[in-house]
Subunit: 205 residues, 2 copies
Amino acid sequence: MNAEKIPDIIITRLPVYLRALQHMADQGIKTTSSQELGEHVGISAAQIRKDISQFGEFGKQGTGYSIPYLLDKLREILKVDRLWDVIIVGAGDMGHALARYQGFANRGFNVVMIFDNDKEKIGKKIGDLAVEDMANLEEKIKSTGIKIAMLTIPASVAQETTDTLVKAGVKAILNYAPISLNVPNNVKVQYIDPATHLQKMTYYL
Amino acid sequence: MNAEKIPDIIITRLPVYLRALQHMADQGIKTTSSQELGEHVGISAAQIRKDISQFGEFGKQGTGYSIPYLLDKLREILKVDRLWDVIIVGAGDMGHALARYQGFANRGFNVVMIFDNDKEKIGKKIGDLAVEDMANLEEKIKSTGIKIAMLTIPASVAQETTDTLVKAGVKAILNYAPISLNVPNNVKVQYIDPATHLQKMTYYL
């Protein structure tokens, strides 16, 4: 299986399947069908079968999918069968909300550090974490080998901070700053910008 | 121009172009090319030309796009040439962060109300807004005619609250709860779930 050969759009849907399957498992459900899963996620049963079959034969004709088995496989494919250390860069409102968010740990992520350059914030506790000085960002990433960062700083400083993250070895950035970032080809960026999501919906109103 | 005929994936990219063009305009830049815009957003020049040409001939061979003109056109297409009233449902960390976020107003959105069912929170101020009682959600939406809601409540109560929003007339929901929502065909939902975005990236690590 060559990772480069699976279309990106399929990879985008796998975490959605994983989330829905986890939700079913939490309710004690043991098996499901592509039809049932499709109703949960708003994607056609045929598309789900096609997406999942890219990675092997995980379902059985007539009996459907074993949820624990499919969960294991999807976690393995998405590499969240382990716990990834993640840092937050920016201890504003959004950084606070992410630092206190309870939904990461059971989905493969552990927030281990939060950084800011505001002297008023440095050293203050957010949940279990003390805010660290942005001046130490590069060194801390290098010494810990962290690969994933969530960026919650103003757009005006997002590119220069991204350059620092990349230089230090970060390979995946979840960007909350409302600006497109330039990164090398071997670094992934995902964008969370509520205004773009809202603007996509107003088109249809 | 029939809204239903433009592929959804193109509509997804328009707000990204709009954001980049606004960023250029803020820097005093008056014209751009599909090449330059493409470098900003990480999308090919050919794709950008094709996307934009779906809506008319907005660029000129050799001189490129007038940024103010293209901004006007994109805002008109996305219907953010006006200001939409938006409510936040859930005054937790994420609701707080969104209520205080400064990036909505200049992109077409005005947060006018925030709701919670926690008696400790109701009446408390977040920025200029006093938290309203969730018990009044349906009535307040109906009386104001609001069409857009941001949902920042736990997954366990997200579907029932969505049903209330839909019943009250909401047509677009930006959902921060980590669960897929069932809505009628005439209601749009967009999802913001940091864990799914992170999981998409770990696949490539």
